[in-house]
Amino acid sequence: MFTELLGQHFVHTALMAGAVVAVVSGAIGTFVVTRGASFAVHAVSELGFTGAAGALVLGIDPVAGMLAGSLLVGGVLGLLSLRGRERDSAIGAVLAFGLGVGVLFLNLYQGYATEATNLLFGSIVGVSDRQLAVLAVVAAIVLAGIAAAYRPLLFSSIDPEVAEARGVPLRALSVLTFLLLALTTAEAIQVVGVLLVLTLVITPAAAAQRLTANPATAILLSIVIALVATEGGILLSLQQPWPTSFFISTISFAAYLGARMRTWSS
């Protein structure tokens, strides 16, 4: 059964899509975690859901709606570049409203409820060749953005005060971070769903940062953990017909726990 499934085209597509999403999620995660913006990931992803639900109502491609929703809220959060408690409550307010609107859209949408479930919980095995191509292009854009702005991204996310004194445009980099995050989120939603984006964007980066203080190594480790979780999760769900998202989040969380325990014991 398992080996039979491994030969299937849709499984190959799923594994490739999972790899693409894992690489971008692991990479951007490091900058999001150092900014202390984990909660923002949730907001961007839920607003992506609202956008996708809106697109379903209008009868257009939900992925386009998802991109629009997450880019919009990502751009706004980046522009506000709030810090600390103010950002926390602002995100909470925006997130709740966006989700409310999403619920209305779902109610208005007369199609299959599976579409909505897929958005919320992911549907990696349903990825088409065309979707895979789109995933790869968007991932290339995100990686190119990170590479082009690597140093000021790192500087502004870890050491904003001195970065500003050295002439790093903090607001522009905040916007850039959140736009790259929005693109990544729209990718990750297609694999793990709106509710589990954090498991690919935050958990691997947080685990990696417990294991190394070298920024480049932290990014690479974060990518590796996200890759193991995604690919492992897909393979396990072939063995045992439970949701892929469950396996992915479990592996990701296990890596996080392991990283924490390693630093506790040392």
Binding site: T34, R151, F155, R166, A206, N214
Partner: protein, 271 residues
């Protein structure tokens, strides 16, 4: 001042106003090579705003500033900036060397490739502040004093023409305060780099400061510590009777509107 040399900082007729609130007007001073200027004053008197003006991050309401002969925004590459100890996240993915390296080229686009020149400069800056051992240490796991040592290396690695330090001693123990002050002073004596040192407590730098710029709400005064830190001058600045007491070689200011008995409790975060 009848100094013929070109001033590193030349500020003239500075006025800073936020809405109705006037912080200072007509503020002018020149800072020359080798000078140590202490900037003192209560919360909200515009100490940090002055630093931001010198960095070109804030435009004064009126007046002009030149830093190393240029507009402040253009001179940023020539300014080393030491912030107050900020406490990095313990898991921040950054080592001592990375922090110093950011001070060298963190503002440039692209990836951070290691180059022999950059590595040498980072190592040199670390050695200058006695922090060679912190190169591989996660910055978030270092003590406040150790972090401030790295901060100074980060400010010095670009070989600045001016050092700006904004409350660099805040939340440091006395021994670490001494180290931070000595390192800044050493750079000033060896390379002639002038220092602008913002602090709410003058005592740690009393023997060092050539001049004091005292900012008070709506007023200011500049001169030697002996000229400025007097009962007369501060009473005039605050427009209320203020006593400057000399106790065991320390200066204690009593009676200012934000007085809390001794003049070193406040946490300046005026923006």
């Amino acid at each position: 001042m009848t100094d013929e040399r070109q001033a590193v900082v030349d500020a003239q007729g500075l006025r800073l106003q936020f809405g109705e609130r006037l912080l200072w007007d007509g503020l002018g001073f020149a800072l020359h090579e080798g000078e140590f200027l202490a900037v003192l004053g209560p919360n909200g008197s515009g100490k940090t705003s002055l630093v931001r003006i010198l960095l070109g991050l804030l435009a004064p309401t009126a007046g002009s500033v030149r830093v190393a002969g240029q507009a402040p925004g253009l001179a940023r590459a020539k300014v080393g900036y030491v912030p107050q100890q900020s406490g990095f996240d313990p898991d921040a993915p950054l080592r001592g060397c990375d922090l110093v390296r950011l001070g060298l080229d963190g503002h440039r686009w692209g990836l951070a490739f290691s180059s022999r020149d950059a590595d040498e400069r980072v190592r040199g800056a670390l050695a200058d502040v006695g922090a060679t051992g912190y190169c591989d240490a996660p910055v978030g796991r270092l003590s406040g004093g150790e972090q401030q040592r790295l901060r100074i290396a980060q400010a010095l690695v670009s070989d600045p023409a001016l050092l700006l330090a904004d409350e660099p001693l805040l939340s440091l123990d006395l021994a670490s305060q001494r180290i931070v002050i000595d390192l800044l002073d050493r750079r000033r004596r060896h390379a002639g780099t002038p220092v602008v040192f913002v602090t709410h407590d003058v005592n740690p730098i009393l023997g060092l400061a050539d001049r004091v710029l005292y900012l008070a709400p709506g007023r200011w005064a500049i001169g030697t510590p002996a000229e400025v830190l007097t009962t007369e001058t501060l009473s005039r600045l605050y427009d209320t009777p203020v006593d400057v007491l000399h106790v065991r070689g320390r200066i204690v200011v009593v009676g200012t509107p934000d007085d809390e008995g001794v003049h070193h409790h406040e946490h300046a975060q005026a923006r």
